[in-house]
């Protein structure tokens, strides 16, 4: 019979690495310590929690009524539009469906269409993280709207199972001169709630990514509401004045589209 191990002290298990102080230099997961070849329990749990939050953000459904109520004080009518992706699974597998309106939504929006389109149409889309627009759309818009004085605005369109380009078709229905799509970005492990803002001038079905300007990582821990609103207002006015957006627009900040939007 083999000998029983001596009393195992908790302190001797999964010790920290001696270079723990270097962790302040990078958000990367360094100096994690190890249990044999493997991660210590605390680190398995930490990564598991971050991934769980990201997964929940991907799967979460946008609570349209709650969002509409939060937008009410802005004083603009709200409309709900749905893409041609009929489920979250279909949405994730088929980005082409998420870029087109469902037949029902297309009919609803066409019935509301007017020939004198607004200068700016604001679309609030779930994208890959409904958590982001749920939390950040209303405060961002309340900071943005005062900076858009003098421009005509369409209704606020809440879009579900939506990719960025769905806003193009919605804008086409309203004959809008410019569309802003506020959309949940692909959740990162430390940022399940990043909101992106895409500005497209002269939007139409088939507008390409190079025609868009993008602000990314809008959330209190990233690009704050006030800063995002003033950058966005500047972009909107520059794009309207030039009649173009995207890489051809001589305006910083940050043109073009990151992948998987």
């Amino acid at each position: 019979m083999s000998e029983l191990p001596k009393l195992i002290s908790k302190e001797s298990l999964a010790p920290s690495d001696p270079w723990t102080e270097l962790r302040s230099l990078t958000p990367a997961r360094i100096a994690l310590g190890r249990s044999g070849a493997s991660l210590p329990t605390r680190e398995v749990l930490a990564l598991g929690i971050a991934h769980a939050q990201a997964r929940d953000a991907v799967q979460a459904a946008l609570q349209v009524d709650v969002l509409a109520a939060a937008l009410l004080p802005l004083g603009l009518p709200t409309i709900h539009a749905q893409s041609a992706a009929t489920s979250r699974t279909a949405y994730l597998a088929r980005p082409d469906w998420g870029r087109r309106l469902s037949p029902d939504s297309r009919g609803t929006l066409e019935a509301l269409a007017r020939s004198d389109g607004p200068d700016v149409l604001l679309v609030i889309a779930d994208g890959l993280s409904a958590v982001a627009p749920q939390q950040h759309a209303a405060p961002l818009l309340s900071a943005l709207l005062p900076q858009l004085q003098g421009l005509s605005l369409g209704p606020l369109v809440i879009a579900t199972q939506a990719r960025v380009a769905l806003a193009d078709e919605i804008a086409e229905c309203f004959a809008a001169k410019l569309v802003v799509c506020l959309i949940g970005e692909r959740p990162g492990l430390s940022s399940p709630d990043s909101l992106g803002a895409y500005v497209t001038a002269a939007p139409r079905v088939g507008s390409v990514d190079a025609e868009r300007n993008c602000l990314s990582n809008i959330r209190p821990q990233g690009l704050g509401y006030d800063e995002a609103a003033s950058q966005l207002a500047g972009l909107i006015r520059a794009a309207l004045a030039a009649g173009i957006s995207g890489v051809a627009l001589a305006y910083s900040p940050a043109p073009s589209l990151p992948p998987s939007a």
Partner: protein
């Protein structure tokens, strides 16, 4: 030319070789998105049965993308080695699979016939192979390359240390690099994906890695994964560039969307070779690929994504790379929906690359919107270890804070070594032993008892900076 098959009372017609390959491919979301996937499970099997009877020479007779229209096709056709192909000439795709799994297909024989195998032949036979077959056949294909370390030897595994930082902060990158070295990672290379494309910032990264490698005599090579034109400019400006990196694809149109062509890659290889910085070898190129890239650039010419991927390996092998890896789960669920598809694609890519004679590694990875998690990555990593993968990624805690995806960690590398008894690249192993970071058996030592080591000097210098 069209192809016919009958299963029971139903008959199936495939209008082209491209359609036959696409319909024979295991189900994946990217092929459905492209509209080329089989419409039913039976149609898929009908395509496979038809493919099994197809002579390998069919792929020499019919180009999937016209010779005149695509320089990758021209590369495949013009570089085909008829003498190496001679022993395989009478085989069908189905009998090719049987032969690959037989004892007759030894490591030496597989290396000899590799220049006679085209990417389309490799893709075709992979579609008839189960995961088990892909592992068994790949582990017989040994591809050994070298620069300052030797990678791909039997019983060994290398790790690319990937110390990315969201803003390319030099101290942050150095901290992650030292972390990885202390975990015994970095024998494949130390490779940074920069957030910035500014030449001055890139130059600083090359200088930092060069100084680190020189100061501590680390038998590895650095790489800054900027666009290839940036790297050529840097070499001309005198930057200490070890490896030249580029993402490549299997069609001329996809490569155009990456801003490259074969001539540019040749220029890059020549530039890197001119520096003569390798000590034990002169493989200077590092390529990355991945299924779905061609469709995402609308550059797939109606081909399925796995066949496009295999064609990318023809581009790679023209440049004698040190490292090639397929970034298998990075692209997202619209191309590889879930872990089943990611695992299958990783094994296919590794097999096809190895069969064609490439030093294949795999970035075992996934994004948060794919149906996959760490357990699935453990599965794929273990399978690839069994298949003899040349190298995998080492990212702190598996969480890449610049690129926003999960890859394999330094710990995962240790786990794979322990599970399968895999040693480091030999030069790196000696270095780690000299520093007493590993023992004679290759096991990592307790870091707390090693305060006098050279790497601690670097750690302490970084730490001093924090305290000042």
């Amino acid at each position: 030319m069209s192809y016919r098959a009958a299963i029971g009372l139903r008959s199936y017609v495939f209008d082209s070789l491209a359609e036959l390959l696409a319909k024979a491919s295991p189900m994946r979301s990217g092929d459905a998105l492209a509209g080329v996937a089989a419409a039913s499970a039976e149609q898929r099997m009908a395509a496979r049965a038809t493919l099994a009877d197809l002579p390998l020479t069919a792929f020499l007779d019919e180009a999937l993308i016209a010779y005149e229209a695509d320089e990758v096709t021209r590369l495949i056709v013009d570089s085909h080695d008829a003498a190496a192909f001679a022993p395989l000439r009478s085989l069908t795709v189905g009998s090719f699979r049987d032969w690959l799994l037989s004892d007759a297909a030894s490591s030496a024989v597989l290396a000899a016939v590799a220049p006679g195998i085209t990417p389309e032949m490799a893709a075709a036979v992979s579609k008839l192979m189960r995961n088990q077959d892909l592992i068994l056949a790949a582990r017989k294909c040994r591809v050994v390359t070298a620069f300052r370390s030797t990678i791909g030897l039997p019983g060994r595994l290398a790790i690319r240390l990937q110390p990315n930082h969201p803003t390319d902060d030099a101290r942050g990158i150095l901290a992650a690099t030292l972390d990885g070295l202390m975990y015994g990672a970095g024998d494949a290379c130390i490779g940074i994906n920069p957030a910035s494309d500014e030449p001055a910032k890139l130059r600083a990264l090359w200088e930092m890695l060069d100084a680190l490698i020189a100061r501590y005599e680390i038998p590895t090579q650095s790489c800054v994964l900027a666009h290839v034109t940036r790297q050529i400019e840097a070499i001309k400006a005198g930057a200490p560039v070890d490896l030249v990196f580029q993402s490549v694809g299997g069609t001329e149109a996809l490569n155009r969307s990456f801003g490259i062509n074969l001539a540019l890659l040749r220029e890059a290889q020549d530039a890197a070779l001119s520096l003569k910085r390798g000590t034990v070898g002169s493989n200077v190129m590092y390529f990355e690929t991945g299924q779905g890239a061609a469709l995402s650039a609308n550059a797939h010419h109606g081909l399925d994504q796995q066949t496009c991927e295999a064609r990318a390996y023809a581009v790679c092998r023209a440049f004698r790379p040190l490292l090639v890896n397929t970034v298998v789960g990075f692209i997202g669920p619209e191309y590889l929906f879930d872990a089943k598809q990611i695992i299958r694609a990783g094994l296919e890519d590794h097999f096809c690359g190895k069969l064609l004679g490439l030093p294949m590694g795999v970035d075992v990875c996934y994004t948060n919107h794919a149906e996959a998690d760490q357990d699935d990555m453990d599965t794929l990593l273990t399978l690839l270890g069994a298949a003899g993968v040349n190298y995998v990624m080492g990212v702190p805690g598996a969480d890449d804070v610049m690129l926003g995806y999960q890859s394999t960690s330094f710990h995962d590398g240790l786990a794979l070594r322990e599970m399968l008894g895999l040693k480091h690249a030999p030069e790196f192993e000696s270095w780690l032993q000299r520093l007493q970071l590993i023992d004679a058996q290759g096991r990592l030592q307790d870091a707390r008892s090693l305060q006098a080591l050279p790497l601690h000097e670097a750690i302490n210098q970084l730490g001093d900076g924090l305290r000042r």
